[in-house]
Each structure stands twice: as C-alpha cells, then as structure tokens.
C-alpha cells in the first residue's frame, strides 16, 4: 500500500493506494474465479481512527482513497490496514510530512 500524508494549515491530507484486483462477482463468474475485494479499510494516527471505510466490489481496481483529518503533527506515524473478502489483510505505514 502506498501512503502519502501531508500536513497543511492544521489539516492532514492523505492519498493512499491499495494494490488489489477488486474482482467483482460478475467478472469472477465469467472468468471462473472467486470474487474478492477489499471490504474494510482503516487508518490510525496515535491510536486514533482517522479513516474508517466499509467498501464494496465497486471501488476501482487498485483503489485510490484520499481523505483528510485534524489533530496530528508532522512526524506522526499513520498506519493503514485493509482486509478483503477472503480475510487477507495488509498493513502499511507512513510518516506525516
């Protein structure tokens, strides 16, 4: 997962991209595969939740999410985790610049 987090005027803007095929039920059926997509994504800074997103199959492949929050400083660590339909999970972290 690629994460870029930047503080400006007290607000942190984050751009994150998760690497995931986001295979819908329709496409999976056509290709004889099992559907699989990210179902939940979270981000935390200093143990505070700053992104809490339940997702469906209709986010794009390798979904990009941009979000904003307050109450963090330059140098704080942002930790992001996603989990998919099969239960696979990935956690990445980055430092707020």
């Amino acid at each position: 997962m690629e994460i870029k987090a930047k503080l400006k005027d007290g607000i942190v803007s984050v751009k994150a991209m998760a690497k995931h095929p986001m295979l819908t039920y329709d496409v999976a059926a056509k290709q004889g595969l099992e559907a699989n997509f990210i179902t939940h994504m979270t981000a935390t800074v200093n143990n505070k939740v700053v992104l809490d997103m339940s997702t469906s199959q209709f986010l794009s492949k390798n979904p990009i999410v941009k979000f904003t929050f307050k109450g963090a400083a330059v140098g704080d660590k942002i930790v992001m985790t996603w989990v998919d339909l099969k239960g696979d999970t990935e956690t990445s972290e980055s430092i707020i610049k």
């Binding site: 809490d52 794009s60 492949k61 990009i64 999410v65 929050f69 307050k70």
Partner: protein, 150 residues
C-alpha cells in the same frame, strides 16, 4: 486438524490481532449486511439507515459529467455537516452500495475515491448527521466505456 479448519483458525487469530483497531472502527458490512445486497439506491439507504427521508442539501459531489473509463471514475465528496457517517451509492451496477465512511470528530468530510461504473447512472451520497437527519446529494454521470468487464 484439517487444513481448511486450520486456515480458518489462522484467520481468527489474525482478526484477534487487529481487534484493538476494529474496536474503535465500525464495519458496516457486518453491522448492516443487507444494505450491500440491495439493488436500488432507495432500498440500500433504507436497509442502512432505516429511513428514506432525505434532505437534499449540504453535500457537494464533484465528478466528471462524462467518464471515458468506467473502471475508475473519480468522485470527490465534501461537506461541512457534523456527521456520523457518509455513504456512497450508485445506479450503474447490479448492487447499489459503494462504500460507507464512519466519521468521528477528527475527520474532515473531504474524500476522493475511484469507483467502477458499468453504465451511465446517478451517484447518490447520503450523510447521516449527528442530529439524526439524512442529508443527500446526487450527480449524473455518463459512462462511455463500462467498467465492470475489465
């Protein structure tokens, strides 16, 4: 232990390891599973929030009028409403729900996502205010090349 059972046991352990995060995070797929199976926006909103009474104000949606590639249509959502959650729906795909954000006091409602749209349709964003009311906005998008086949 059978391999299958062993693997699912592993998944449980993994879930337990992430429990501190999920304690303060809400998974709407687990809380409201029916909302994700609904085929119309009205039905999905009713299943998610228990109401269909929408106030059409306070939600800004920015998206292209014509999307060349339905596989990744950029949609920006902004609002100043003090909210509990933000939900995104559309009429272009077999099911309506795209995602639900849970909002807390640290968060600013300024999101950008990229979504798949199989055909032209309407995106509806519903914001659940802390006052319990549902605010909404919508935007029509024409899709030149559908995005569910890729």
């Amino acid at each position: 232990m059978e391999r299958r059972k062993f693997l699912s046991f592993g998944a449980l352990v993994a879930a337990a390891a992430f429990a501190p995060v999920s304690l303060s995070a809400e998974d709407y797929r687990k809380i409201k599973p029916d909302a994700w199976k609904a085929h119309t926006v009205e039905d999905a909103i009713a299943k998610l929030y228990g109401s269909n009474t929408l106030i059409a104000e306070g939600v800004k949606i920015t998206a292209p009028d014509v999307a060349a590639n339905g596989g990744a249509v950029p949609v920006d959502i902004q609002s100043d409403i003090s909210a509990k959650s933000v939900a995104v729906f559309q009429t272009s795909n077999p099911e309506s729900a795209v995602c639900v954000f849970t909002i807390n006091e640290n968060m600013v409602i300024d999101y950008s996502i990229k979504m798949k749209l199989k055909q032209s349709g309407t995106i509806t964003v519903v914001i659940e205010g802390i006052d319990g009311k549902l605010y909404s906005g919508s935007k029509n998008i024409n899709v030149a090349l559908g995005g569910c086949e890729g």
